[in-house]
Amino acid sequence: MTSYIGTATSRIDGRDKVTGTARYAAEFGAPDLAYASLVTSPIARGRLKRLDVTAALKVQGVITVLSHQNRPSMADNDKAYKDQVAPRNGSPFRPLYDDGIKFSGQPVAVVLAEDLETASYAASLVHVAYDEEPHVTDITRQRYNGMALKAPAKPRGDATKAFSESDARHEADYFVPIEHHNPMELYASTAIWNDGRITVYDKTQGVQNVHGYLCGVFECDPGDIRVMSPYVGGAFGSGLRPPFQVALAVLAARAISRSVRLVLTRQQMYAIGYRPAMIQRIQLGAKADGSLNAISHDAVTSTSEYEDFHRNETTWSSLLYRSETAKYDHKLVRLDLPTGCDMRAPSAATGVYALEAAMDELAEALKMDPIELRLKCYSDRDQSNGLPFSSKNLRECYRQGAETFGWSRRNPAPRSMREGHEFIGWGMATGVWEALQMPIAVRIALTSNGHAEVSCATADIGTGTYTIMAQVAADMLGLPLEAISIKLGDSTLPQAPVEGGSWMAASVSNGIVTTSQAIRDDLLKLAQRLPGSPLKGRSGDEVVLANGAIALKTDGRDATAIADVMRSAGIDRIEREERTTFAKDDAHAHNTHSAIFAEVRVDEDIGVIRVTRVVSAVAAGRILNLKTARSQIMGGVVWGMGMALHEETLIDHRFGRMMNANIAEYHVPVNADVHDVDVIFVDEQDEFVNPMGIKGLGEIGIVGVPAAIANAVYHATGVRVRDLPITLDKLTRKA
């Protein structure tokens, strides 16, 4: 029975969010709460020489100042600091561990005081002297000094030779700067002290990841720490790994045996993680008819001096289009910055930007329509391994997207369309992401009053997890949505992976199905004991829970109310916890796809760029909630606009310091930047990816958008800008 899945259901946590009752990490307290404030390093590399806390300690209300010199003990091995999603190679950063300075913005002391203002004032009185060492923070200067990484796919044929023999060729560098997630909620942890045990309210995408990390770092029993995160004010990947403030809040609570709250400033958050800058070189060669005969994609990305963080930027060009030959290369550069981290569609937002901007340039060289070129190279198989896709309705994305956008009315010549003092440009691009799922456990407690509580240690970071969980549970248990309550964001709940990679909707939904089936089977056994039960001899697959009753699937007749079944069995509660794993489907490639169409208007005189229309047509399997799904894609489109036109973290390389570490000078799109965004979900049934055919939406929304906008800017102005963001000064600069 399906009555909620697939509908445009409003968020079940909506009322809490619009009334201000939803509480985030910094909004839990305790009577003995102390406030923490950080002192951070202004140098990028070296050692802390001297720490003078005299003046800070003189301020009334200051409790203590913690540093590496007087902190409580912490683990002394890398393994303890490696969280679930830490890079395989390297030594994770250990906050307040010793006198070494690895990046500008590194915390070196924690001031604890009776109130917030006193803590931050006293932090300004801590004097620190450093021994500075030379640092390197500029990726462009290190471009040729990177370490080689394993390519995501084997090369095919001789791409160098094929490229040189191609009828049409395009070759260029594409640059993406450092970008920061900047979720609206400040990174915060409140550690509530309770006789040696600590409950931490934390801003995280994975309570159990943080829990495991804290137990390792502080060498304590799992029962001594509990991590809670009922609401998360955005994260976008920055909350996958435990940020330093959670370790410091717990460290401080242990030092003073009191509850402690530590909220980072917006500026301090810039040291948590970011999308690393990258330089990509693409070569595309094609025959005169548009069929590709050479793809070559080289990427240079950066990491810290202490950990090897990277994703595969080139993997996307290895799978998307048919090409006779292909080769890939990825080099990793070490810089004196904190380790980067995953940020919405890591590697795809960037790698596909370069590929799809290059495809537009190739289409122009071929004098071909950009969609036609993509259809010419369309592949029903993952080109990197030859596997057919479990489903791929990208063709329909192109068709429906183009029709909604009105693409057929496009005059292909640059600078050919205008209205008033503005040039109009139309561009398009393809998007691709992977469809994943992870093992997960879900507990359901059904009570005879017709209520079910569904719990799992997952997170809702704004994605709508609460709501889709309730929808799936309501449908599977045959109950109204209002009869379902959801518990998540608590490390003591059944096991869940971190919420990321767009895998949570598929994982938790299938997990709910598994546990609901166990509940159904329990109910069936009880029902069969009733005298004259029509369900006698039937198996679980033959019955369904619907309208508060258990009935035969075939005709829905002979229904017995669940309440009656439970009452006659003399029980008022059935509780089941089941773990769901997913069979490996080695016969297919699993991906989501999209086609994005963008309209920009560029002022003829001053070059101001406005994105006036975006159509995003998405093929992502089964859509659970049309309302929240649309919002996910819309949010991704807004992120793509930011990436194309606004976002860039600037470093002053003389100091190795981020210069615009705030939300006024790091530009993100605001309301006036966003006009019409049209989201289309193309029908896509997938019987292989997982039993429910869900593919996930968190990442696909951004992928391709920066290229579609960049291509539209070219179409409007005739100027190719290949280093993001496309700011108006770049439209008039001399090459």
Binding site: R23, Y121, M184, Y231, R266
Partner: protein, 172 residues
């Protein structure tokens, strides 16, 4: 390495006590009296002293709008206002918009139009929208977008925020 012989330093209150000032505010219709340091912002007074955490801190620098409240009916960034300077004012926060359990039309429209995702910018957006509607100057979609551009939504709910405000405008 940590030196375990170094004791955890304890502060001795040697400097002069921070002067506290009495302030009376009407918050969501209730008179609240506070003894407060002159450097405490209205935002921190609401969140840390009055337990009204519906008003959010996103930057503390007047850059994001998450801390927007209505001061005598007008939207302001409460992170840029010192609590002691608001003595005698009337403050409405997101907690004070619903009446007897019935949501304010803007709140309801935000739910109906899915005008948020993570919800962190939402109280600020809603207070700005309520101020905008009662001010009555922004009428067209472009004007609303412009007027709402002091409230950043990193989740990118902007088109839905506009749809919600347009609907609430019709209803009021």
């Amino acid at each position: 390495m940590a030196d375990s012989n170094t004791p955890v330093a304890k502060a001795s209150p040697r400097s002069s006590p921070m002067q506290q000032i009495s302030v009376a505010l009407t918050v969501n219709g209730v008179r609240r009296e506070l003894e407060i340091a002159p450097w405490t912002t209205l935002l921190d007074a609401l969140r840390e002293r009055l337990g009204l955490t519906g008003t959010k801190k996103g930057c503390d620098h007047g850059q994001c709008g998450a801390c927007t409240v209505l001061l005598d009916g007008r939207p302001i960034n409460s992170c840029l206002a010192l609590a002691v300077m608001q003595d005698g004012s009337d403050v409405t926060t997101v907690e004070g918009l619903a009446r007897d359990g019935t949501l304010h039309p803007v709140q309801q429209a935000f739910i109906d139009h899915d005008a948020f995702q993570c919800g962190y910018c939402t109280p600020g957006q809603i207070c700005s929208a309520v101020g905008l509607i009662s001010d009555g100057r922004a009428r067209t979609r472009a004007e609303i977008r412009e007027a709402m551009s002091g409230n950043i939504c990193r989740c990118g709910a902007y088109p839905n925020i506009i749809a919600a405000i347009e609907e609430a405008m019709k209803a009021t």
